[in-house]
């Protein structure tokens, strides 16, 4: 069958699959499914963070006059600002009591607030009694706070000129962007490509496969199903991305996105390449999954297959992730060349390097492999499921041929 007719047949199959999937009630659950854990995660994460920031840091009871404690609090405030929001030990003041030992003992037993240590005579002979080790970070923080509280000179003012990015920060942040991009790509591919394992079960169980195989090439069936699922995935991603952007716009500062340093190719191209590499990754892994899943006849068999193929995906991601730190090293090039890890490796490259020609080459390479894997999967399906062609293995045919000749 000619290519245009094969593509038209794939379109008919794909349109049916896409419509049947998107118009089903299950698709709504599919769209909402990933939003629930995120929502719950954000909710509990926010509450947890708030609780943690208030409760996790130890409380030090400072036995001092209000004036002395004011200096300590001021010094602590300065240090807290210098730590980019990092938590410092919390401090609460108590008036000195006549029996110091009894006061220390009483405070350490107190639950209101739960005291971890008691600091006595902060500006004379400071003594700390509590559960801290002498070399702990908490004790070091208290030392710094006291030192700053006793310093007479104010903190010098520094004239700051802000640049958008320096080489050092850009390299670091692009590395993070590369890994985040890879991680997102992996997550989406993992989430969506697995569905292709069971794509032919419906046709097999309904006996529709015979009708399809008599009318169109198996390649067209596979191609149609693959692109239908890709389209469905893109619908899902569009919905989830819209929800994420909406959530950021509602919950975060409007400058958050603008403040993110751009990847090497710039944000618009990075987003475009992200979509393109998702599509290629999905098509590559999906074609392989479709081929593997097509061998299964029942849902149980598909379930049995899903674990090893998921593990294979994890290995591919780990390979690409390991290569991200050295895109021009042998590992990086190997990950970019190996078809299944290529989209992951190339997306990381887009974050770190501005050159565009490797992406054109990579997309063409990946497309070639999609076609090859699909062809192989279709051939395997025809041979093993439709029982087409010679059922004898080539070596058996060869041995039979030689015996006939003899």
């Amino acid at each position: 069958m000619s290519l245009p007719r094969t593509l038209r047949a794939a379109w008919v199959i794909g349109r049916r699959d896409f419509t049947a999937t998107v118009m089903s009630k299950a698709f709504l659950l599919f769209l909402l499914g990933p939003l629930f854990p995120v929502l719950v995660g954000v909710m509990f994460g926010g509450i947890g963070a708030s609780v943690a920031s208030n409760a996790e840091r130890p409380v030090v009871a400072v036995v001092a006059s209000p004036q002395a404690f004011a200096r300590i609090e001021a010094a602590r405030g300065e240090l807290a600002g210098a730590m980019n929001g990092g938590a410092l030990v919390r401090m609460t003041r108590f008036d000195p009591a006549p029996d110091t030992a009894a006061q220390v003992d009483s405070l350490l037993k107190s639950n209101q607030p739960p005291v971890a240590a008691v600091l006595l005579d902060p500006f004379g002979q400071p003594r700390l009694t509590g559960s801290f080790g002498s070399g702990s970070g908490d004790v070091a923080q208290i030392r710094l706070i006291l030192a700053r509280a006793q310093a007479s000179r104010p903190v010098p003012d520094i004239a700051v000129t802000t640049v958008r990015a320096s080489a050092g920060t850009a390299a670091t942040i692009r590395g993070i962007t590369a890994r985040l991009g890879q991680g997102l790509l992996f997550l989406l591919t993992l989430l969506l490509a697995g569905m292709l394992l069971s794509q032919l079960i419906e046709e097999k169980s309904n006996k529709v496969i015979e009708v399809l195989a008599a009318a169109v090439p198996v390649d067209a069936i596979f191609l149609g199903k693959l692109f239908a699922m890709l389209a469905m995935s893109l619908v899902g991603i569009a919905v989830w991305a819209s929800a994420a952007i909406g959530a950021i716009a509602l919950l975060a500062s409007p400058n958050v996105l603008a403040a993110l340093p751009p990847p090497a190719v710039g944000w618009p191209l990075f987003a475009l390449l992200g979509i393109l590499y998702f599509a290629m990754s999905y098509l590559l892994i999906g074609a392989a999954f479709l081929g593997i899943g097509a061998q299964a006849s029942t849902v149980r068999q598909v379930q049995t297959l899903s674990m090893p193929v998921t593990m294979a995906q994890v290995f591919i991601f780990a390979f690409a992730s390991a290569a991200a730190s050295q895109p021009n090293g042998s590992l990086g090039i190997a990950a970019a060349v190996f078809p299944l890890s290529s989209p992951f490796a190339m997306l990381a490259r887009a974050a770190e390097s501005a050159a565009l020609w490797p992406h054109l080459l990579a997309v063409a390479w990946q497309a070639l492999w999609v076609a090859l894997i699909l062809k192989l999967a279709a051939s395997l399906f025809r041979r093993s499921v439709l029982k087409s062609g010679s059922a004898r293995r080539w070596w058996r045919r060869a041995s039979k041929g030689s015996s006939v000749t003899a």
């Binding site: 069958m1 000619s2 007719r5 038209r8 047949a9 008919v12 199959i13 049916r16 049947a20 089903s24 419906e202 046709e203 309904n206 006996k207 529709v208 496969i209 015979e210 009708v211 399809l212 195989a213 008599a214 009318a215 169109v216 090439p217 025809r382 439709l386 029982k387 087409s388 062609g389 010679s390 059922a391 004898r392």
Partner: protein, 309 residues
């Protein structure tokens, strides 16, 4: 003989070590109704699947509507498989239109034709119902309409009568005749000989993976000698020597194949021998008898070959 719609030469199909089809050759003239007959497991469905390009033969060649690659002619072929299959969530109209679209018919035109076809069969009320809500007979009708919606030149029906009640079998026979009158070539497989006898001009009898007979229905019937049914008044006499050795006797009733010389010498011998003919009929064998004899011989031959020397 006119142009061939389907031709096959020495088609062989092996499944592992089992040979399902063993050198099938056949020719179906365009515009004819051809029945592929054979006992269960004879290789009818495998042959059809090879002819249509669903599976490739292990060896041999076939040509479908002039094309060596059957799927190239798929847009002119309608196929009803033995194991019926439709998407249960699809509506009847969409299922018919989808099957047409698979064969290159635009979806919009397919929907229009599906609406008309369902209306012609009084199924308009079911057009927008999902297939899973239809009865088995209705679902079969929907699949048959999907097979025909794109007006194929070649219609291949694998066991089309199975699962249908007598009324629907009659309707299907009429439909097949109508399609043939409209110029389509029709091939159908069956193991119920009566349908083939009523519908077919040509038949191919497949037994044990081989074509045991291919040709006109009359030629198949002519492979057997006419049967003579005789009732005599005399129970014995010289006339008994006129009966062939295999004649079956039940009282004064005798059944035997008409001897080589034909009816006249037989009649003369019976009269001269004093048989006292009460009734005598000479019946041409039906396709059923021919099928049993031809397929039976082939199976016996196959079994004889399998017995080790």
């Amino acid at each position: 003989m006119g142009e061939a719609a389907v031709e096959a030469w020495d088609l062989v199909k092996d499944f592992g070590d089992k040979r399902a089809v063993d050198g099938v050759s056949l020719r179906v003239p365009a515009g004819s109704i051809c029945g592929i007959l054979g006992p269960n497991g004879a290789g009818k469905t495998t042959t059809i699947r090879m002819l249509l390009g669903i599976i490739d033969p292990s060896s041999g060649t076939r040509r479908l509507l002039g094309s060596d690659r059957p799927l190239d002619a798929a847009h002119e072929v309608g196929y009803l498989p033995e194991e019926r299959g439709l998407y249960p969530a699809m509506t009847a109209r969409e299922a018919i239109a989808f099957m047409g679209a698979l064969r290159g018919l635009p979806l919009k035109e397919g929907r229009r034709r599906a609406t008309d076809m369902l209306a012609e069969r009084g199924l308009s009320d079911w057009a927008d119902r999902p297939i899973r809500t239809l009865s088995k007979g209705m679902a079969q009708t929907v699949q048959l309409l999907g097979t025909l919606v794109h007006h194929p030149r070649l219609i291949v029906l694998d066991e089309p009568f199975s699962g249908l009640d007598a009324i629907n079998q009659e309707k299907l026979e009429s439909l097949i005749r109508a399609q043939a009158e409209a110029g389509a070539t029709i091939i159908f497989s069956t193991h119920v000989i009566a349908h083939a006898e009523r519908l077919c001009e040509r038949i191919a009898i497949i037994a044990a993976g081989r074509v045991a007979f291919e040709g006109a229905v009359d030629d198949a019937r002519d492979r057997l000698r006419p049967m003579v049914r005789l009732r005599t008044r005399a129970s014995d006499g010289a006339w008994r020597s006129a009966l062939p050795p295999g004649a079956r006797q039940n009282g004064r009733d005798f059944t035997f194949e008409l001897p080589e010389g034909g009816p006249e010498p037989l009649l003369r011998a019976l009269i001269d021998g004093g048989a006292g003919i009460d009734t005598l009929s000479i019946e041409r064998p039906g396709l059923h008898d021919a099928f049993v004899a031809i397929a039976g011989e082939a199976v016996v031959r196959e079994m004889a070959q399998e017995v080790p020397a």
